[in-house]
Amino acid sequence: MQTYYSPEDLSKFPTIGEGAPELWKKFSEWYGAVFAEGALTEREKALIALAVAHAVQCPYCIDAYTQTCLEKGSNKEQMTEAVHVAAAIRGGASLAHGVQMKNVIEKISM
């Protein structure tokens, strides 16, 4: 079946570099540095990435960072809580924009 997303495409990600190799090189180096151990551990960064992957709803990222989280020693409880954080921020952001709605109502109502 034809789909927009295919698991095999994840391994083709580096081919994006073919069109702009210098930019890809810079991206790859920066990406690697971002996920290296720093003030945050690699495991903490992977959990953040997993949460963001759900927030941006990228199936490639969800696949990759689910595996990465397990390989960094996180468990299902911790990973599920990370997804809830993403969901809470998404849900909270929608709800917080309700203030905009209220502002408009107040502005145009008698």
């Binding site: 495991r43 960094k72 020693g73």
Partner: protein
């Protein structure tokens, strides 16, 4: 799926032919009999297995220890405690003054008839290598069987009460983690810190070191990989994670593995694949020759990528 032969990969790092660097551990698999049947077990051990090392074969092992200076004996299984001559064999190894390690599944120590084993380990200064794939019950039981976690905790508490794992007693108890699926183990150092914190907080248990071990595509784990459709992905991951430094430090270079019937292997995985020592070195305890075995060429296969992936993997955990 076409995988690059392991020998070709290591040739790129001038490691071919992979050879022994000398035998510092005699790893004796005293049988495939076990009270558990873990989903990942490369031995495919279980209660119905009949392959159990005889006293005569154990005597051959002891003869080799007497005639060599191999410093460490690593007893594995199955559940080695279930071998009817286990206690005698341990005592004889101790008499020879060798450092002795026993790989225990822990739950056997809670079974009727085995109650004295923890005390026996302590009396003989046996280093206990205990399997505990995670500090959470659900993760452990899904891999090792329902109820395993609680029994394991009970056994660990017994060992702690004897002084195992407290740092000052000299009684060493190391735990073994292996992933609960088709993924690589985490950093040993980072996970050890998590284990130490969580095992103390949740269960009041202490231990010396954590060994992280990669699941190799052998035995029940291979069956799982194939039946779950994960074989290609997992092998691709192992090959992509090839680490020349880990390949240099693979454990087969300094151990010799003995099967239940006295056949010699480069490692316990080769043992389960039926790949005995070769390239002219003797293949059975009866023809043991330290010189030729200490310089033997190792038999490799695609499963070897498991020991050379990432931080490396061995019976003593990560190798880099």
């Amino acid at each position: 799926m076409q995988l690059k032969p392991f020998d070709k990969t290591i040739a790129g790092n001038n490691l071919y032919p992979l050879t022994s660097t000398g035998i510092n551990t005699l790893q004796v698999n005293v049988g495939r009999l076990c009270n558990q049947a873990c989903k990942h077990c490369h031995v495919e051990a279980g209660q119905n297995r009949k392959e159990v090392m005889s006293k005569e074969t154990m005597e051959l092992c002891l003869g080799i220890l007497k005639n060599t200076e191999i410093p460490t004996v690593d007893i594995t299984g199955g559940a080695p405690e279930m071998n009817p001559n286990f206690i005698w064999f341990v005592e004889e190894c101790v008499k020879l003054g060798r450092h002795l390690m026993v790989r225990s599944n822990l739950t056997i120590l809670t079974e009727p008839g085995y109650e004295r084993i923890p005390g026996f380990f302590a009396e003989n200064q046996v280093e206990v290598i205990a399997s505990l794939p995670y500090y959470i019950e659900q993760n452990t039981d899904s891999q090792r069987g329902k109820g395993v976690f609680q029994k394991s905790i009970s056994a660990l508490k017994k060992l702690n009460a004897l002084g195992y794992g407290d740092g000052g007693s000299g009684l060493i108890m190391n735990l073994v983690f292996n992933p609960g699926g088709a993924f690589l183990p985490p950093s040993q150092k980072a996970l050890e810190a998590d284990y130490k914190r969580e095992m103390q907080k949740r269960h009041g248990i202490s231990f010396n070191n954590l060994f992280t071990i990669t699941n190799l595509p052998v035995g029940r784990f291979l069956v799982y990989l194939n039946s779950s459709g994960n074989f290609e992905m997992y092998m691709g991951k192992l090959v992509a994670s090839y680490n020349p430094s880990a390949a240099t430090s693979v454990m087969c270079r300094n151990i010799l593995s003995v099967g239940w019937d006295g056949t010699l292997y480069d490692c316990d995985f080769n043992q389960m694949l039926g790949l005995s020592v070769n390239h002219g070195a003797p293949t059975h305890l009866k023809e043991f020759d330290l010189s030729s075995l200490s310089n033997r060429q190792i038999i490799t296969g695609i499963h070897c990528y498991g020991c050379a992936a990432g931080a490396g993997s061995s019976c003593g955990g990560a190798t880099t």
